[in-house]
């Protein structure tokens, strides 16, 4: 029996029981649509993570001041005590060659005023390497020079959002703005980075030299001399990251005179580790979503197998007759396999259409990121074919192995 003939016979058989065929297909439709939606959500989340990774830079370590124990034994968050100093940063720079960039920093919030415009934003008081570590690029103007850093110059670099809010289309470079009550000269603006991995606006900031921040902006807060909130490190080669982290921890414990067994008064965060953990979590989530979708596809497949087995039993005389007039076991197997494949293929096509619509809807109205691509659709198509083959094979084989004499004797 040639292919077209097998197909025609299968279509005929399915039409004869179209309600049953449609319901059986529904199992596959749901399964395939679920696979597409779930995998799209998984991939969307993964893409989000990838964006986060590229935004943070993966070769960096961040040291923040120690978590402390305040009055009444309340544990305070990391960075709540000023245990780090500029000297710590200098020591790391000097003694750990794997560390390529070192930048101590302070930060806080302030009001930025230009003419009648004002804008509430974050300031960062930084050392020179801070721009490299955070991959900031000057859009317009000049970066701070050495004298800005050493002389605590009242120079400021504006993030894109701040520049837009205060100056609009005007060029801010050379203008004077006030941070709180202190006038600063704008020396440059930063190239925009856009939204960060956690959804925040990364461009909503102003940057000043570290010493300027200490003297002019930290203001009322009485800081210990040389204290900083954070030291950011850029490690030259990614494979040195863990080693460098160990060295940095050892060096700081020594400098802070922390006895073996005592808690550190600082915290080193390895962004790569955080990202890796998060990636792993996402991967696990994708896997779980995929598994749920896969299970619904298996349930659909079992539906096909069930109906095909019923069909074989119901049509046992037809099978016997077809065998008697000259259909071989191969012909019978092909016929039933074609019916199962047709159910799952029709289900697959409708399921793919429904899945694409579903994924687009989730992307539009749901809170989840969605990445739909041809690979997902191809995968779903492959699954639907595999489902028909896998779950159709056993009933088809059973039909083909019937003894025509027995089959014809059935009522």
């Amino acid at each position: 029996m040639n292919f077209m003939e097998v197909l025609r016979t299968a279509v005929f058989a399915l039409r004869g029981n179209w309600m049953r065929s449609a319901l059986t297909s529904l199992g596959v439709i749901i399964g395939i649509a679920a696979v597409i939606v779930m995998v799209s959500v998984g991939q969307g989340t993964q893409a989000e993570i990838d964006k986060l990774v590229s935004g943070l830079g993966s070769n960096r370590l961040d040291i923040s001041g120690g978590s402390g124990v305040g009055g009444g034994g309340v544990r305070l968050a990391a960075g709540s005590r000023y245990t780090l100093s500029v000297d710590d940063a200098d020591a790391i720079r000097k003694e750990i060659p794997e560390v390529q960039y070192v930048a101590a920093s302070l930060r806080g919030g302030t009001q930025v005023v230009y003419a009648e415009n004002n804008w509430s934003t974050q300031w960062q008081g930084v050392q020179a390497d801070w721009f490299d570590i955070n991959e900031w690029v000057i859009a317009n103007g000049q970066p701070f020079d050495a004298r800005d850093y050493t002389g605590a110059a009242k120079s400021v670099i504006l993030g894109d959002t701040v520049a837009q809010q205060l100056f609009g289309d005007q060029d801010p470079v050379g203008q004077t703005v006030r941070l709180g009550r202190v006038p600063f000269t704008v020396v440059a603006t930063l190239k925009p980075k856009g939204q960060g991995g956690f959804g925040q606006d990364q461009d909503d900031l102003v940057v000043v030299p570290l010493e300027t921040a200490r003297r002019r902006l930290s203001g009322a807060t009485a800081l210990p001399p040389g204290a900083v909130q954070q030291i950011s490190l850029g490690v030259g080669r990614a494979e040195d990251l863990t080693y460098a982290q160990g060295e940095v921890e050892a060096l700081l414990r020594q400098r802070h005179r922390i006895q073996p067994g005592d808690d550190d008064d600082f915290t080193v965060r390895n962004i790569a580790e955080i990202v890796a953990t998060r990636t792993q979590t996402t991967r696990l989530m994708s896997l779980l979503l995929g598994a749920v979708a896969g299970i619904s596809l298996i349930v659909g497949g079992i539906g096909i197998m069930n109906i095909m087995l019923v069909s074989v039993t119901e049509r046992i005389r037809e099978i016997g007759l077809r065998m008697a007039v000259g259909a071989g076991p191969g012909d019978i197997r092909k016929q039933f396999l074609a019916e199962a494949m047709l159910i799952s293929l029709i289900g697959g096509v409708i399921g793919i259409a429904l899945g694409i619509v579903g994924a687009l809807l989730v992307g539009k109205f749901g809170a989840l990121p969605v990445a739909l691509n041809g690979k997902v659709v191809g995968l779903a198509a492959g699954f639907s074919i595999a489902t028909g083959l896998f779950f159709g094979y056993y009933p088809a084989r059973k039909a083909s192995q019937l003894d025509p004499i027995e089959a014809l004797r059935q009522q």
Binding site: R317, R322, G326, P329, D331
Partner: protein, 240 residues
């Protein structure tokens, strides 16, 4: 048609034996060494009560089963060495079946039922429709081609079944109680159709328990306890 030349045997069995559940306590010897020779253009009846082994013999002649021992040559082909797939091919070429219950597929029209076996012979579709229509014409059902089996009388259904059995032009027509479900007048019509086919050089083998039906054949055999005996006189029939 009356050529006296040596005729070819289309069915030839030698010491054909069939044992069910061999080697167990339930062992049944259904056929004890059957020798049968039927030539092209013969109309032969095989009679016997149920349990006599006639169904077993029919299944063997129809290539649905293989013998335990002995040989069966179906139009010259020894079937004992064939697997299920090869036997199916042989049935396609050599055997047309007619059953007591017609066994038409209820969702198909008469024409589609008749055309169905040609699908397995890879006959082109338009050729199939043409041949199926011609076959229905030959059994006098020209106007019934598009009717479903449920819209046909028993006699008409059996004619459709005969047209189907002959559609791949097999040398052997094997009819198992073909008149069993029909009234006697319709049965007579079917039997005269068989005679007509015999005259057209088909070989017709009729399996029946009814002596009156068997009497229409040229030669009659009787199965008794797995053994085949030539019935002496065809017209010994009504012995009720």
């Amino acid at each position: 048609m009356e050529a006296p030349a040596p005729r070819v045997a289309v069915i030839q069995t030698q010491d054909l034996r069939r044992v069910y559940s061999a080697g167990t306590e339930a062992e049944v010897v259904a056929l004890h060494g059957v020798d049968l020779r039927i030539e092209r253009g013969e109309f032969v009846a095989i009679m016997g009560p149920s349990g006599s082994g006639k169904s077993t013999l029919m299944n063997l002649i129809g290539c649905l089963d293989t013998p335990t021992s002995g040989t069966y040559r179906c139009d010259g082909v020894d079937i004992s060495t064939l697997d299920a797939e090869e036997r199916a091919d042989l049935r396609l070429d050599k055997i047309g079946f007619v059953f007591q219950g017609f066994n038409l597929l209820s969702r198909m029209s008469a024409l589609e039922n008749v055309a169905m076996p040609m699908g397995y012979a890879n006959v082109a579709r338009d050729e199939r429709v043409r041949r199926a229509q011609a076959a229905l014409d030959a059994v006098g059902l020209t106007s019934r081609a598009q009717h479903r089996p449920s819209e046909l009388s028993g006699g008409q259904q059996q004619r459709v079944a005969i047209a189907r059995a002959l559609i791949n032009r097999p040398p052997i027509l094997l009819a198992d109680e073909p008149t069993g479900a029909l009234d006697s007048r319709t049965g007579e019509e079917i039997l005269s159709l068989f005679k007509q086919l015999r005259d057209e050089d088909h070989t017709v083998v009729l399996i029946t328990h009814d002596a009156e039906v068997a009497a229409h054949a040229d030669r009659i055999y009787e199965m008794r306890d797995g053994e085949l005996h030539a019935a002496t006189a065809p017209m010994q029939a009504p012995r009720a």
